[in-house]
């Protein structure tokens, strides 16, 4: 019987038209408490101290992680079609960025524990007001043996990033009132950046890859169109010149990418040996999440991100199959419910949203009642199998800017009914909710079809709101049509969506929160409407995001971003539901694994080594 159930389960998963089963009151306590996954994270404290040492005129970065063995392979995977480009400046998707990050180091990187920016390719940096002075390492080289100097940094910033080559998101994110920072070369190993105004998020942009000038310059000279195809996936891999710990040596489309260790990387262990330990990293390109799970179970994969609903299955085999589950805490992803507050008219002079409905959505009591009616705990247990945390703020739970003053609150139908009554809503004899004018409260709830998690949330929201007497027509629609409704035609009532943000930089969310932002979905304005009819709290959000970006100290910034979270918490244009908890499974043969919430499991890729090289290929 159990086998049969398993077969059915996998079929359902693989067929992709799985609607998540919603089982109310499933006893999940065993899974959550029976764990040890929580401890796993805190057991290994990352020996973060890395220092610069100079040996024979070369500035190395020395780690004090335990010394390991050289050799071995780590097999990771990526879901989807694989990378679209190997040019770090052209990547627009996560996979291409991951593939580029292994090969090109940035000047700074994120400390995986504290979330502060620390030097990487740069030896050190100083921040003096609007000036960022970066000192480079002496004696480090590109993979073709040419030295990495200030010329490369200057060229990368001046000719690629600031001139708008490739993906311009870095450039967009550092422009302040339309003005860009400037870059100057001071000497061969020193570069200075100057922002037009104090601008805290600039430091983050220094983590952008640095390009080898002697390779990229000819491409830049041929213009932007050529640059868009430069280092595409059919480039001869021998032509790649890199600075990172690994270099791509084999790429088979739709199958895999194999990286080999760079023999001359600038990170060394405490014995002075050059890292990384691993000989190879292989990324398998798998089409969908279910196949990835099967590959992990079949031993073809070493690391995998585990969905909440898969955790019980993984737990069962954890000991037999020689891997561990690591709980990385809440994810940066957020699930939310949003109502359309747009009460303006479209080009034809018709309202975007039916005025009757619009009146409800623009009523704060109504939004609060919806919020109070939603059973977040139930979602966490039944959709994510307990591997999620209820969420009440727009900043994710692992954000260093999270406003901890904003307390969670439980579902409260009584209070929700009171609020509705105060706003003139009444339930009729049959329990149907009617507004002050006697209209039945009925609206559409949309989400993108095919996303099992969001569909499950939609069903639960519908049930929760129906207990207030509302009629909710839940319609999962095709992703593209949904985006079109949200961002172009604005004709929607309520939506379940998700966004990912940065746990380190709230300024990335400005597209959502600024009143003229391109993703200001809950009250989208056409370019003609920009800056008009602002709600008082929208005006305040605009102010907070402007100030938050130019304030320099963390504490000062925190004040602005605390207030923005408070506004969303009170006004509820977007009702946050939960954040999934990130669980990763990794085989036990890998050592020096120090998972952190911010960095994940293999953030210290150069320090990771394999303990039993003998059993390495034992799975085939």
């Amino acid at each position: 019987m159990k086998k049969m159930g398993y077969v059915v389960l996998v079929i359902i998963l693989v067929l992709l038209f799985a609607k998540a089963c919603i089982r109310r009151d499933m006893p999940d306590a065993e899974i959550i408490s029976g764990g040890g996954t929580e401890e796993q994270l805190s057991l290994n404290i990352y020996p973060v101290e890395r220092k610069n040492v100079t040996i024979n005129g070369v500035d190395y970065l020395q780690t004090n992680a335990p010394i390991g063995k050289f050799g071995g392979t780590l097999i990771n995977s990526t879901i989807g079609e694989g990378p679209k480009t190997f040019n770090p400046f052209n990547s627009k998707d996560a996979t291409s960025s991951t593939f580029a990050d292994l090969m090109y180091d940035g000047l700074v990187t994120i400390d995986p524990v504290s979330g502060q920016y620390i030097p990487k390719l740069a030896k050190s940096f100083e921040v003096k007001g609007n000036d960022y002075i970066v000192h480079l390492r002496h004696g480090i080289k590109w993979s073709d043996g040419k030295p990495i100097t200030a010329d490369d940094v200057y060229f990368t910033w001046k000719n690629i990033i600031l001139d708008g080559f490739g993906n311009t998101s870095t450039r967009d994110s550092i422009s302040v009132d339309g003005k860009l920072p400037t870059v100057t070369k001071i000497d061969d190993y020193t570069v200075k950046f100057t922002t037009p105004k104090p601008f805290a998020p600039f430091l983050a942009s220094l983590s952008t890859a640095i390009a080898p000038k002697h390779i990229f310059e000819p491409a830049v000279k041929k213009g932007k169109d050529f640059f868009d195809t430069f280092l595409s996936t059919n480039v001869n891999l021998k032509d790649l010149v890199t600075s990172g710990p690994f270099k791509l040596v084999e790429y088979v489309p739709a199958q895999r990418a194999v990286y080999k260790r760079s023999p001359d990387y600038y990170v060394i262990n405490s014995n002075g040996e050059k890292l990384p330990y691993l000989d190879k990293i292989t990324y398998l390109i798998v089409g969908d999440a279910n196949n990835e799970v099967l590959k992990f179970e079949g031993g073809e994969l070493d690391v995998i991100g585990v969905k909440g609903s898969d955790v019980p299955r993984f737990k069962e085999r954890q000991e037999k199959s020689g891997f561990s589950l690591v709980n990385l805490g809440p994810d940066t992803g957020t699930m939310y419910l949003s109502m359309n507050l747009n009460n303006r008219l479209n080009k034809e002079g018709k309202p975007y949203v039916n005025p009757t409905k619009s009146k409800w959505f623009c009523n704060k009591n109504f939004r609060e009642a919806v919020d109070l009616a939603i059973d977040r705990e139930n979602m966490v247990y039944n959709i994510a199998n307990g591997f999620a945390k209820p969420l009440f703020t727009p900043e994710s739970l692992n954000s260093i800017f999270l406003n901890k003053e904003l307390k969670p609150y439980p579902r409260d139908l009584g209070k929700a009914r009171d609020l509705l009554e105060q706003a003139g809503f009444k339930q009729d004899a049959k329990g149907r909710l009617r507004d002050a004018d006697g209209n039945r409260v009925e609206f559409d709830l949309l989400t993108n079809a095919g996303n099992a998690e969001r569909e499950a949330i939609g069903v639960m929201v519908k049930e929760d709101l129906e207990s207030l007497g509302m009629k909710v027509n839940f319609k999962p629609i095709e992703f593209n049509s949904l985006v079109n409704k949200l961002l172009s035609t604005y004709d929607w009532d309520m939506v379940v969506m998700g966004l990912t943000g940065s746990p380190l930089e709230p300024n990335g969310g400005k597209n959502v929160w600024l009143s003229n932002g391109a993703l200001h979905m809950f009250n989208m304005r056409t370019p003609q409407e920009a800056g008009k009819n602002l709600l008082p709290w929208e005006e305040e959000l605009d102010y907070l995001f402007e100030k938050g970006a130019i304030a320099l100290s963390f504490n000062e910034r925190k004040k602005f971003y605390n207030r923005y979270q408070e506004i969303i918490y009170n006004e509820k244009p977007m009702i946050y539901l939960y954040s999934p908890i990130r669980i990763t499974a990794i085989r036990n043969k890998f050592k020096n694994i120090y998972p952190t919430t911010l960095g994940g499991v293999i953030h210290n890729i150069e320090e990771i080594y394999v303990d039993d090289t003998g059993a390495e290929n034992g799975n085939n």
């Binding site: 077969v7 996998v10 079929i11 693989v14 067929l15 392979t73 097999i75 079609e81 679209k84 480009t85 052209n90 627009k92 993906n167 311009t168 998101s169 967009d172 994110s173 868009d228 195809t229 595409s232 996936t233 059919n234 084999e250 088979v252 489309p253 739709a254 199958q255 895999r256 194999v258 292989t282 398998l284 798998v286 089409g287 969908d288 196949n291 099967l294 590959k295 179970e297 079949g298 031993g299 073809e300 095709e478 992703f479 593209n480 049509s481 985006v483 079109n484 961002l487 966004l499 943000g501 990335g508 969310g509 597209n511 959502v512 391109a518 993703l519 290929n617 085939n620």
Partner: protein
């Protein structure tokens, strides 16, 4: 001479056909509500300027007739254009075509090798227990959906560990010697081939059986038997030659199937073939890639039919005289 004229005529006929196919496909893709930029739009870090640039680059700012004109112009010149990620379409197809050809040609070869004899045996031994068993087996083969069968086999592979879980080559393929490489690919191919073979075998065996039964029932076969010709000769020389004509037409369609791939099976087994590529392209409305593959499918179908018709001319004298009149 006649035959060359016939071929030329047929090729000329394909031009308006391809034109219509391309217009219909293009309109269908462009009129569907799929927005190729939806993914980018929802990315908070993409600016409006970037979006506008992408729109221009993909030609989405022009009206659909102009878009079609541009596409058709470069297609006629032999340029398949670039994918929405800026990679060359021709290059993308080139990467996948050998994989798909490998899979489909093995499947077609095996199906014909096994299916035709089985069909003949079933027809000759009509209503015998053997025929009945074959009928049941082929019924199962026809009834079982390919993706379902594929999923079952995949679970089998996971449970037993005898077969790799999808893909075409192992991750350490590059380090293997030639023998190991062949073995590795064979191991990866067994399951997808089994699925496609089972499904197409059923149809082919039944077709062959029905054709032969039809012919065996005809007067001239009765006459041949009455004349005292040996049963072997009746079937091989007289019946089979007539029964094989519909099969040749079928072969033409199979030829078209060579490059259209088997998207569902490829998807389940993560096989790096054309089917998966096209499926992904359709889902994000990658117009050049979709158009290139649709045109390729259409051309293969036309070509397959042409080849089948030519073969028929050789095998069937009746058509030969009919064709020249």
């Amino acid at each position: 001479m006649e035959i060359i004229k016939y071929i030329l005529k047929r090729i000329l006929q394909t031009i308006p056909l391809l034109f219509i196919v391309s217009i219909v496909s293009f309109a269908l893709i462009r009129l569907s509500p799929v927005d190729p930029l939806a993914e980018l739009r929802l990315n908070p870090s993409i600016s409006q300027e970037t979006l506008e640039r992408e729109r221009q680059r993909l030609g989405l700012d022009k009206n659909i007739a102009v878009q079609y004109g541009l596409w058709a112009k470069s297609f006629v010149k032999g340029d398949l254009g670039i994918t929405s990620n800026g990679e060359s379409v021709a290059q993308k197809l080139k990467e996948r075509i050998p994989n798909t050809l490998l899979l489909t040609s093995i499947v077609i070869f095996l199906t014909w090798l096994v299916g035709v004899p089985l069909g003949i045996i079933a027809a000759v031994k009509w209503k015998s227990p053997l025929d009945r068993i074959l009928t049941v087996l082929t019924s199962i083969g026809m009834a079982i959906p390919s993706f379902f069968f594929a999923v079952l086999l995949l679970i089998f592979a996971v449970k037993t560990g005898w077969f790799p879980i999808g893909g075409l080559t192992s991750s350490n393929f590059i380090e293997m010697n030639l023998g190991q490489k062949i073995l590795d690919i064979t191991k990866h191919l067994i399951l997808p081939v089994t699925v496609l073979f089972t499904v197409s075998l059923a149809g082919l065996q039944r077709q062959m059986r029905a054709n032969l039964l039809d012919v065996l029932d005809s007067d001239y076969v009765k006459f041949a038997r009455a004349k005292g010709v040996s049963e072997y000769k009746v079937i091989m020389k007289h019946a089979l030659r007539n029964a094989v004509n519909p099969m040749i037409t079928l072969l033409g369609f199979e030829f078209a199937g060579l490059l259209s791939g088997a998207a569902l099976t490829e998807y389940v087994f993560q096989y790096p073939g054309l089917g998966r590529l096209i499926l992904e392209a359709v889902m994000k409305s990658d117009i050049n890639l979709v158009m290139a593959s649709l045109m390729m499918g259409a051309i293969m179908l036309i070509l397959g039919n042409l080849i089948a018709d030519l073969l028929l001319i050789f095998t069937d004298p009746r058509i030969r005289t009919g064709g020249t009149n």
